[in-house]
Every structure is written in structure tokens, then in C-alpha cells.
Symmetry: D2
């Protein structure tokens, strides 16, 4: 209701700020009897760990997850699973003028407008650090979905700034994605992307781009018309991520340039199963999965943190300028890949469980 | 939970199929004391009425709305408001091969996959007729929002097929939009669009496009991080509409081609109020409105109903072909305009009420 | 959220006032494929129909239910089921002093306090007529539960005023209950109850009592700790009925007079199934059904409508007196029996579906 | 949805088992700007701390609460508040035959029936230790309600076994309640209760009783008909507590023995405010508060843990006997007092916030 829960049957509630005690998540509705160890979750968190390279954020934390409840003798019990990652970096430093000056295109002004004041330390609740709970919870959903139906969720960097990768979503593998720093499976383009990010970083500037995601082996029948269509919930999930500006599924915005006769996906039987010969639908028709790969893309704006002088106002309502300095994350996309996967897994998990009650 | 409700504090639940008894909506949580007459709702339904022109659907129904509850002496009582529109066209006709053959890129196959069978008459629940309840409910939300804060929601056709209109969202008026058949405020482009749609219709083909929407006078502070960010809920709302393939807010996908120094919106004080000198954010930062116009776009695919021979399968799992005939809606965008407005109003209404509880 | 919906997976939303256009309910989440005809629902409504006898309310309406959506070729489709009963008695009569004077122990004053004003015609939303939608929706739940697991829900009048019936919940049948006007399976006591009610009616007074309910064949494992324990949801359901003042399950308040050694239910195996030799638990332990009969009781206060002069205030905040006249329902218990059954069925239905997602 | 959350606008989600890492709660929707320190919450936890006396449980834990998020510079920020109490007693001891034998009238059998297996250590999730999160969250609600409207929630032991206290709910104070070990404000009866509990303890037996609760200064207008009537939500809240068997509000079950002319509460103006001369309604009419004291009672069964030989079955489905030994809590009522207060505060808090959106 107040915005910090997602899902119904597999419902997660996240908590925590950038520089508070820690961040965490409570999962209510995880089916009982799933084999689960800390390492299953830690593995996903390690993938997102910042500080791995010069293209990502300098914050170097261990992010060790603890399972506080809901698991007994390495199996889920059906009771709430509480996961927590303590913040290593809790010492209050001097935030200087950031206490009173609003950073342009950051959530400083809007949090003050909503709540009357805010935790100004490192972005507070609006920090990308909040997404750790999502990734941790999704590690469990991913494991369940793979065990039940070999469902896999794979995201990768499709575009950074003007650089567009060639990737075949049908065949791309996790291994290809993790093989380079930007998590782009087009190795040649990945090199160019890295250079582009380094240049932006040097210039104190930042870049955005597109993450593409494919979900395989979702059976036909998943998704809840009319308001909780699968694409609607995916769009919700993706636009709930920091710095996102757009979502499209299948043909997406390009569909607007096609005629119906070009866009409709012919249906055929193959090996006793319905397939479409094209996949402009992106695996979802009328809000329900049709058994084909689900494919969507998410647009991320360039990071709002830049090291150039900007016009802004302060909390007292005065015009002023702001010049930030330090180290920054010139492009969040390499890390955003895992959060996109996480949110997609949470949506599919919830609707997968719901489908058990429909017939 | 099962997908037919939207919203929390202003919660709507829609019901009805294309060729059943009727369609309707129950609204739970409408504030008490709002002046409301049938004409307030009928006015919005009349705007969406099909059959007004040769560019829209031939179905010519009156769509007279009834208020069944929740209003007494022309004021809302705070109890559930039940609205109903009877279907004039209920007679069961012969659906012929459509009973067994799946229409490509329609929801026929997926509804069968989900529920085991379906009401095959005219699209059943997946018909656009389902959206009448949304528009009716949103008429009330619109009235409330305008009364409270002069909030207005205005949508228009921005693009049809390759034809892109020039529109200034800051100044566009409802009157300009309603002045032509395609509801595109760029009069010159509107003429071309009409011709393009007529040609598609003649060819038995169909077209898609983009609807743009601007929401004015939303106060800063509306929206619920982290999962129910305003843009996330808008994306959810828009992708819950039939035939939508994408959503973007503010700079949208174009943001990916900009640098942070180009994209960040400078903040200034003007007349004692914060304004941004650009609006790449689209009126929302960190999931919360910043007081600027909220601007977003929705991509609609070309209508799936076309009159060309297509490859498909039947319910028995056999390859076959399908050749539909009759009259059809070659482009839904002129009517989609009102549904986009409706869903946007519902999101803002819900979060507007929620904000009363935050401080 | 705003109070007019009940349940999650089998979610009902009711609407309607006593003297508006009608009353109704939308059910979202009914499993697809259940055989359903109007007569299945009408049958339950007929049982509750007032005007059947001199002990119940004089209002003589047909209460013909219509199925407006969600059913195709006599099977549920999985889409929302909209049910409606038009009000025959809609003509606005002169409500006289009831427009301004608050009836003691009726909801007149509190509705005004909450919403600022109210529909004063015949109790408006607070009328018992509101429960028609619940009974109609529950008819579907009952059918499903019986089909799936022979689950049956049986309620009866256990006590009216000081008259307490002897009933064995293990063996009582629907037929016994419907065999007399007060729906008390203890035939001898039923006669006394009828006389007692008639006397109260003649005196312009009213009586309360206790309804007992038994639910048979609920499998072990139903109910959701810790907040949605089965007894918690049953208590919620029962106290949501007009005129209820108390709920108890199994041993109930009498448990407070027992020692643990007397109260604990011994467990034994019988025919390969766990049974308890006593059933002080009332079929639920720790919030979860244990496979034994679920037994609970609901206390109803005497009806607030009486024909004696009472002290009250008016809307202008002045002390005054009120003397109502006309015909009235001196005891609601004979009709309350069906509403208790209905709410119990809705709770069990919801938790029964939920259990499909737990393992 | 899965049962571990309570409330909508002030929504709590609890987690944790008796002998896991700890127990905790996440609160979503706490209004921003409320002054809050750890001591505000610790104070409430200390009241419930076991081990204070020979009449309560021997487990002697510190139960130190930590605030992990949602508070900055001693004020709530409007973001989720995560509270945690680590379990001191986490070492796995040998649970012996309790691993395979089901304790009668405990939730052992039913948890296995629901989830397929369970955390058998000390009751796991079904332990009363789970309620710590509720009490911690309610400490915040209590503070808010008192600050806003001087709303106070006071519960006390009304009856233990056959011993009934005389207490005037209008005037009883927190101080009187905390003045003795059983938290019964009737000092003479408290002495007898203590003796009765000691005797039961010596005999290896247990006792139940009744907790009464009064809520003062709730303004008229709180509560959401028709399903979320204030008494319905209170009943839900109370029956969600371990060991509860019944709930009644105002006149409760005794109402069944009264006539309408005796039961109706006359209304009068006093000091410009509506009052009723009696309070059989218990402060709620038609599901909405009327401004009078809200008074209700909760029945607790005798604790299921007793040290006498009992008939039971084991997980393999064999008849067997069980003789437990050790130390036990012969009567939970003195501690239940705080949990009843906590749940009542959570209900009122949620509906108090909701009322802001109704007009």
C-alpha cells in the first residue's frame, strides 16, 4: 500500500537506506520445501557487487547476506523469509552542502516534498542500494522457477549511449554476459562500451542505455487480465527501478511503424506445441504468456550524479549552484542487468503461483 | 489479486464481456460529498463512442451508463459506486470458424491456455469493450482531481504509423484534440493520418501509433517509492490496455542517447515555486511528482484484426488458415486516447488520496 | 481497502443500498470451469427471502438474481462474475423525522460522523439488504467446495433470547434446519422460540440470540498463520455482519473455565486418519484446520428497530425523542443463519485456494 | 496474502521463529515526522518480558530491539521501519521425542499438514515469541495515536479460570494494571489469581481466562463498513493471537439475553458532544466508532503445554503417549495483556489513517 511491497502470493517487502544499519527484505509466501542455502542468495549478490571494476561504482562492500528466518535444515518452511545485509559504510560523514542543496534530477527535492524531510545520507531510501533486497529475494524465486519448469531469466546490456550491440536473445547465455565488465554479450561492442564509459567518467559525465531481458520456458497461461497482464506487471516492475525511463515488450515502439499484416505472429504446430513464426508479441498476448520467449527492453537515463557545475535551488528556496566531486558510477547499466533479472523473476514467480488457483 | 481490480484507496473492479449482458465497474473508496450526476460520466463515454466516423469501429451502441449505487441526491456517499452499461448487441450470432480457429496475435489461444476454455463471442473479456468500466470510473476521478487541485489529464494522438504530429504538450487543449476524427491536435497531420487509416482499412490491414499524455497541476509529492513509483504505476496502467507494447516517460528511450550533463534538469525558483528549466524527467523524479507537467507516451501495435489470409492453428492442434471478413477498426488510436486519460487519472487519484496519510 | 471487498483469491466486492437501484456483487478469482446456473444462486437467495412468515421481516421482494458476466454456456470462465438483484421497492417515500433524528443503536449517527451525510432511506448501505451480495457470491463458493472435497457449511439457530436449543453439530442436517420458521433443528424449542418472537413483536420489542455453524470435511492444512489464522478470518467475517456482538470457536468463552488437562484434545489414529477424541479446538489449531469439524458461534444483539419511545438526538445536535411505528423484524436470527453460512464459505473458499500455492 | 502482514495503510509484516536468529517486523506506511527513539519501543517490550516473576514463563531474554531503518535524527522518515530483536537462545538443543510426537492442542500437527514439515524448535513460528514484532510495531502506533488525539489503549486481566475481577473500564489506569504480577487492577482478586496460577503450575497444569480492553478518545467516524467494520477488524486481530477462542464487544454474548428496549443505547448531547447513556454498543455502531469508549473482551484457553501424560500420535501415524517435563508458563494472560493492546492499536491506527481519505 505505502509502496515498499511487491507481489501478492510471493510478496516481498524491502527496507533500508544507503547509510543506515543495513538493507533487507521479508518474503511472505515462498512455497515450503524448497532447498535453500545462503550461498544460493550470496551468489546473486556477488554478481551485482560494486567495486569490481573501473566501470562501476567505487563503493567496495562485502554485502554478506544473512538468512534470519523461514529456513530450517536448508529448506524453506513456508513462513516468512527475512534476509539482511548490514551496511559496512555506516559512519556519518559530513555531507556538506548536499544537506541543503538539491541535486538536479535526483530525488532530493521530491522526497522533501513528499515526506517533509529526508535521510540525506548518500541518497537514503532512493539509493540504488535499496535494490539489494530485491535481488536477494529474486534469487529464491529464480531457483524455484528453474526447479519447477526450467524457467530462466537472462538480462544483458543491449545499448550504452549510441552503441548498440547485436545479440540473439534466443541463444544468449549467462556465461557470455558475465564474460566482460559491461555485461554485454557482443564482445566487440563491449570493448567500445567500456571505452565510452571510461571517457564519460573522466569527463565527470555519465551515460545511459538499454537493458534487454529474455525469459525462457514460461508455460502458456501465465498472467492475469485485465489489469495485471503480464506485460503490465513487468512494466510496473521495471519502472520501479531507479533511473528507468521506458519499457517495451516484443516489437515495442517499433510496432507503431508496422502494419497489422506485418506485425501479426503466424501460429504453427511444431513437435505438438504451438509456436509463432515471428515473435513480435514478445511472448505475451492479451496479457497472458503464449509459451514463446518473453522479451522486453528497459531504458535507463544517464546517471544523475555528475561532476559539473549545475544550477539548482536549496531547501530554503533560493537559487544556487552545485559542484559535486568525488568518485562516481558513470554508467549503472552493467549492474542494472541483475536488478532487471530480479524484478522479472519476481513477476513471473507471483503469476506462476497464482495460476495454480485458476483452474 | 485475480487481475480485475486496479488501485487501492480509489479501487475499481471491472466486469463484463463483449457480448454478455453488459459491462460495468464498482468503485470502492470514492470520497464522500462529491457532486456527481449521470451526465458527468455519460459525457466521457460519449467521447469514446464508436461509430462516430469512418475511421473508427462500426459498432454503433448507445452505451448509456446507469449509476446503481453510492450516489444520493447527486452526491457521492462514500459507499461503493456501481456503474453499468448494458450491451445492446447481445444476440448470439454464428461465430463460425472463430469458435475453433485461433486468431493470430489475438488473445484466443492464451485465454484457452489459461482458463481451459473461453467466451469466444467477439473477444469476450479481452475485447476493448472491457475498458468502458475504466473510462466510467475515471470520469469520477477526473472530476475530483480537477475540483481539488485543477489537475487535468489530456491525451492525444502523437503518431500513426510513420506520421508524427507536432504538438506542444504545455499548451495543447482538449478542444484542439476533439476537433478532428483522429484526435490529433496537429490539424495538418491529422488529415494525412485519416487518409492513411482509410487506405489501411480499404486494404483490410491495420495501423498502430503513439498516444501522448500530459497531466497538469499535480502537486509535488505524489507517488510511492520504491515499488509504486508514479512512473511505475503509470506504466502498469498503460500496459494493461489492449494492444499496448511500450511506455516511456519524459525523455524516455531518447534519454539513452544523452549524457548526464545534457539530461539533468536544472532547478530554479520562479514565482516562489520550484521549476525545472527542461523537463526530461517528465514531471517525476525518484518516483515522486516534482510539480512539473507529467508527460508520457504509449505505443500501440497495429490492430490484430485484419482481413488477409493468415496461418494459424485450431483448438484441436492442427495447422490451418484463417480469412476473416466484415468491418473492422483499422486503427484504435483515436479511441485509445480516452482510455489512456482514464488510466492516468486513476493512478493519480489513488496516489493523491494516499498522500493524505503520509504526513 | 475501503471496506467493501472480502477475500483475496476468491475476492468479492459488494455494492448497493436498501432503497437504491439494487444490490450486487462482483466476484474476482472464481476458478474457471465450474458448472453454474442462475438457479444455483437463486436457490440460496430464496432461503433468505423475507416475508415468508410472521416471524420475519414483512418486506416481500422477489430478489431475482441476474448473472451479468463471467459465465458462458453454464460454466464459469475465470473472469469476474457480476451478480445483481434489482430493488423492487425503490420509490422514495417520506422518511419524515428519520431524516433528521438518529435512531438509537442504528448506524445513522456514525455514518454521518464518518461520511458527512448518508443515504437515509431504509438504512442505506447499513441495511441487512446489503448481505444479499454476500449470499449470492457464497452460493458459488459452496458449490465449488462441495464439488472439490464434499465440504459443507451448515448454520442454525442455537439460542433466541433465553431459549437454548439442544443440537448435535456432528449430525444436524440442512433439512432439519429448514423444517421450521426459526431454523432451529430442535423442534420442541423451535416452537417456544416462535412464540417468544411473536410476543416480542406484539410488544414492539425485539430479541437476539446465537447462531451456531459447523463446517464439515475441511481437510487439515487450511488457514494462514500468523495474521490470517482460520479462526481470525472467521471472526472477521462474522463480526462484519450487522448486529453481531461476539464470536467464539470450539470451547470458546467456556474454555476460560477449564484447565489445560481438561481442554487439550487427545489425538488418535482412526481408519488411517488423525482424529481428536474431544473437539475443544473447534477444528482449528494454531490457525490451521486439523481435519475435525469446524464449529463456531456468533452472538446477535436484539434488533435495534423497536416501536417504543426512545431518547435520541437530531442532526442539529438537539436532544429529542423518537417513536417509530410500522412493521418490523423482531428477530433477525432465522435469516441470519444463511448469512453466517455464506461468510464461512467465503473464508474457507479463499484459504482453500491459497493452500494450492503453499507447497 | 500469505498471512504474515496485517493492516493496509500502517502495514506490518512480521518474521521469525522461536529458536531462529531472531524475530522482527517491517512497518510500511508510518507517517513521516513522528519523533521516535529506541526507548519508545524498548519500553513496551520490557513490559512483556518473560522471566519477571514466578507466574510467567521462565525464559529470561533481554529482547533488545534495534531500529534498522526508517528513522533519521530520531524522526520517522516515511520509509519502512525495520525492527529486530535477536534471539539470545539460539543453540539447538535436543528436542527428543518432540521431533516426532505431536503435542496435543499445539500447532505441531497442523503445521506439518499445511507445509509438509516444520521448524520443531520451541514451537517455531507458532511460538508466542512471534508476537514481539507486533508489540514493537504497535509501540509506534500507540505513540502516534496519543500524539494526534490522546487515544489510549488499555488492557488488563479480567478473569483467570473462575476468578472474575471487578474493574471499571472508564477509570482504570495503566499504573493500576502494572501494579501486580497478573496485571489485574482488582488488587484483592489479583492475589487470588496468583495463588491459583501457582497451584496450577505446581500441578503441571495450566489456566486460561479473559483479557478486557478499553480504547479511549477514538473520534466518531473510524471503521470501514461493510467488511472492515471496526469490530470485525478487532475480532480478526484478537483471534490472530495464540490461544484465543473468543471475542466480544460491548454487551457481547450477554446481549443475546436482552431485549431491544433494554439493549439500545439512548443518545444525549453533553457538553456539545453526543454521548450514549449506556454503552452496550461498546463504542461501535454499524462498524463505525461513535465516540464512546471502545470496550471488548478476549477469551484465552488454558495453555496447551502441560506436564501430564497425554494420548497423541507421531509423524509416522502411530498412536503413542507424551509426557513433557521442564518449566512452563501455566497462564499466559499476564503477558497477553500487552499483545491485546498492541493489536488493538494497530487496528485503530490503520483505520485512523484511512479516515483521512474518506471526505
Amino acid at each position: 500500500m505505502a509502496g515498499n511491497s511487491f507481489g501478492s502470493l510471493f510478496r516481498i517487502t524491502t527496507w533500508g537506506e544507503s547509510h543506515g544499519q543495513g538493507v533487507g527484505v521479508v518474503i511472505d509466501g515462498c512455497p515450503a520445501g524448497l532447498s535453500l542455502r545462503v550461498s544460493d542468495i550470496q551468489h546473486e549478490l556477488n554478481r551485482r557487487r560494486p567495486g569490481q571494476s573501473k566501470v562501476t561504482t567505487p563503493r567496495n562492500e562485502q554485502d554478506s547476506v544473512q538468512i534470519l528466518s523461514g529456513v530450517f535444515e536448508n529448506k524453506t518452511t513456508g513462513t516468512p523469509i527475512s534476509l539482511m545485509v548490514m551496511n559496512a559504510d555506516q559512519h556519518s560523514r559530513d555531507y556538506g552542502e548536499l544537506v541543503t542543496k538539491y541535486r538536479p534530477s535526483h530525488a532530493d527535492y521530491t522526497y522533501d516534498a513528499k515526506y517533509g524531510f529526508r535521510d540525506h545520507r548518500g541518497g537514503g531510501r532512493a539509493s540504488a542500494r535499496e535494490t539489494i533486497g530485491r535481488v536477494a529475494a529474486a534469487a529464491i524465486a529464480k531457483k524455484y522457477l528453474f526447479r519447477k519448469n526450467k524457467i530462466e531469466v537472462i538480462a544483458y546490456v543491449k545499448q550504452i549511449h549510441t552503441l548498440k550491440a547485436e545479440v540473439d536473445p534466443k541463444t544468449v547465455t549467462q556465461q557470455q554476459i558475465e564474460s566482460n565488465l559491461v555485461r554485454c554479450p557482443d564482445a566487440a561492442m563491449a570493448e567500445k562500451m567500456i571505452t565510452r564509459i571510461e571517457n564519460a567518467k573522466t569527463a565527470g559525465d555519465s551515460l545511459g542505455g538499454i537493458v534487454e531481458c529474455v525469459i525462457r520456458h514460461v508455460p502458456a497461461g501465465i498472467g492475469s487480465p485485465v489489469f495485471d497482464k503480464l506485460e503490465a506487471r513487468l512494466a510496473h516492475a521495471m519502472l520501479s527501478l531507479p533511473a528507468t525511463k521506458g519499457f517495451e515488450i516484443g516489437s515495442g515502439f517499433a510496432a507503431t511503424l508496422m502494419k497489422g499484416s506485418e506485425h501479426n505472429d503466424d501460429m504453427r504446430m511444431r513437435d505438438g506445441k504451438m509456436v509463432t513464426t515471428t515473435n513480435h508479441s514478445g511472448g505475451v498476448v492479451g496479457g497472458i504468456s503464449n509459451g514463446m520467449d518473453i522479451i522486453f527492453r528497459v531504458a535507463f537515463k544517464p546517471t544523475a550524479t555528475i561532476f559539473k557545475k549545475q544550477n539548482t535551488i536549496d531547501a530554503a528556496g533560493q537559487n544556487t549552484t552545485l559542484q559535486m566531486s568525488g568518485r562516481h558510477d558513470a554508467c549503472v547499466l552493467p549492474r542494472a542487468v541483475h536488478i532487471v533479472e530480479a524484478m522479472a523473476a519476481l513477476v513471473v514467480m507471483d503469476e506462476y503461483l497464482l495460476q495454480k488457483t485458476v483452474r
